[in-house]
Amino acid sequence: MRADLIDIRVEDHGDDVEISLSGSLGVFQFPAVCEKIEMLTSGPGVFFFLNLQRAHFKAKEYLDFFLEVLDRVRSQNSTLVLIFSNEEQKNYFARYRNIFEIYESREAYKNSGMAKQLNQIGIHYGKKTGLRVTPGVAIAGAVFIIGWAITLFLIIAAQGRDIADKQAQIIALQSQKDRYVREIDKLESSIGPLRKLGVVQDTSVLSSFGVIQDWVSYLEYLENTRREE
């Protein structure tokens, strides 16, 4: 079959496939166009953009054919988008404008709202992974995941607060300790000259139990003090 009066262009961008038809599409070209479009849409691809901007339809048969293509593409879990902006095509597709997705360009489709983009992502991953979920399950799953994430966040936030309190206490105690050390140093320095004269006996080392680490030392200490007495 040779489609001699029509030009066909295929741009394969991985998931996006743009098929452009141009020329006069009459009854004689119908079988050739059907063959080529079916052949091209049966391969891989998530979004099939059918650019008809430069096509001139001279027969009604193409409308039913495009409906069939739409059905087939949907059955492959893909999306069919018609691309055109001229009045001629709008009139031709007027009857089915609610069935077909019609946009002015590929970019216009890609930028056509949040819900659409989510839908595109859904179709993309559905096609890639082979998994399909109903919107109810998807929403329940999303609520569960979001709830789980919020709980996790609250726990982390609470723990964070606790850690912050503890840190504040540590800092306060640290500063208190520093203050005491400074005061002790000050006191020591004030009694320093007296100690040199032998007026004051340094009890901070001798009389404290601080140096005694075990029972043997303690008993030695007791024995020594008693012997002195």
Partner: protein
Amino acid sequence: MKPTISFVLQLSPATAYENLGDVARNLLDGLDVLLNSGLVKCSIFMDGPTIEMLRKKAKPLTFGKIKNGIREGILEFLGGGFYDPMLPLFPESVQSQQINNHRNLLNKCFDVEPQGYFNSSLVWEMGMTAVLERSGFDYALVSEAAIQDALGRSTPVSGWFTIEDKGAFMRLVPVADALSAAIENDSLDWRNIAAPYCRGGKSAVVVLNVPPQAAEIVGFFERLVDFVETNEIQTWPVGYAVNQLNSEGSLSYLISAGRKLGLPPTARSCRDMLIRRPEINLLQKSFLSLFRRAEDALEPKKFEAFCEKLLPSMSPMFFRDLCNEEGMQSLNVRQWGYRYLISAARELDDITDFSGLRMEVCDYLRLGRKLVSVENREFSGLLDYYAGGVLRSYCSKSSSVSLLNSWRDDGEPSVAFLDCLLPNMDLSPTKIELVLGGRECMLADPYDYQIYRADSGSEVRLLEEQGFTLGDKRGVFHVEKNFGFQTDSSEVKVTYNIGNSTYLESRCFFGTLFELGILGNSDGSGIFVDGKPVKWDKKTPFVYPEATTLDIRDYALNCVFHLKFKDPAYLFVGAVFGATASAAPEVFQGICVYPFWRTDLNVMTERSFAITMSVTKRGRS
């Protein structure tokens, strides 16, 4: 009575010069001679790159002197295209862009608005009238032969005529062809030839070519001044002559095939070139394809900026059937033309952020039948399924090389994957060369095509029965030929399934022909079979037995052509020669590669072959 002559000095398009800087320096000296004498009042045409080079090389006050000469009416600068293209071959928007770029440059350098339009090829078609009027030209120079043809007379024509097309109007000034030739060749009879042109005080327009060799330019200007002085000739710039003289009448229709294009005298239009030479047609259609794609994809401002990249490939050099680096018969000129187009294609890919694989089934060459155009970021190609499933073009984007760029004197295009059967007999390499050169025993019947898309690329399946004649024997093969293209590589994998669907045993050599326009600037080295270098004298053909891979490394073009065979093949390598001006076929136009296999196709049996072809940059595998 003194004859009045309007001299028009023209330079070959800038791209013809090897050293434009030297040419510009000598040209400035020549103009200085002309202005100092003050005797020769003439018009001059230079294309954009030459004027830009003049500006670079000019000494202080030189341009001031030229401007002064223009004000005093000694010198008139003619307008035209920036790269001096043959306008009818291109879309109107780029025609205007060429003209406006040249006009702006003249305005910037010499403060002058050109009044007259000149094209060194002197082509004319009616569609140019509106474009030139819109661009603000008052008159255009055309060839005398075209006006004689339009008037139906054979006597010399001078003065100026008017022409109208779709409401647009233009004055046409014929160039006195016979007188130009006489003066250029120093004919002593020039005064007799000039007499009928100058009758009634009319001025004869004489176009003289400024020599392209830098050393001869100043001498040319001195000779011109001397000629005018000695012969007491009155000289007028063309613009002055048009303003002084009355119209000679109106023309209803004018078409001119131009001059110095390599067209036969019977040619009516420069478009004849596209019909005669498939290489020139392919280059022009590649230009148009890029132009249309950019027009569809880009906003007006970006589109105009992109077209600037396309303008150099419109140079008349790429549309002439001339040899000696003046036209497309030269391998270097062909590669040069494609380099401009391939770099523009790369730029368009970047602007449109193109990635993936584009396949288009359309009448690419405007021959009335479809071809499959294939393109990704690495290569672009053209598959002619109608003429035996051959590749008509293969351009590597990474190395900016057009691979199938050889030139055949018989006017056939150079191709790849043209299948050929050789009879089962002991054939010498010279005999094989003759058979392949004459395109005998080819399987070139139309195929039916189907396109299959896969994850990593696409496949074009060609399927048909191909008839063949081998001596007295005739038969039919059922051939399935699959071209596999990938999304991100320059590789083309071709697989064959050939079945003998007749009741005759067909022993023969089956192979496929490649005519490659590479190794033009090599001494024959660069051919590697199975990784081993094979020395070749670029003349004598040879056959290499049992080859699995072939690499042809063109160090000048910075590219490597790879072929890989699934089964070891006999490999024929020969040269494609073209005729020179002396008609001896001795100019190297490319290399012919023909891998082939012995094929014992018994009744109702099938054989398969596979060849992988790719082109990479040197150093990349």
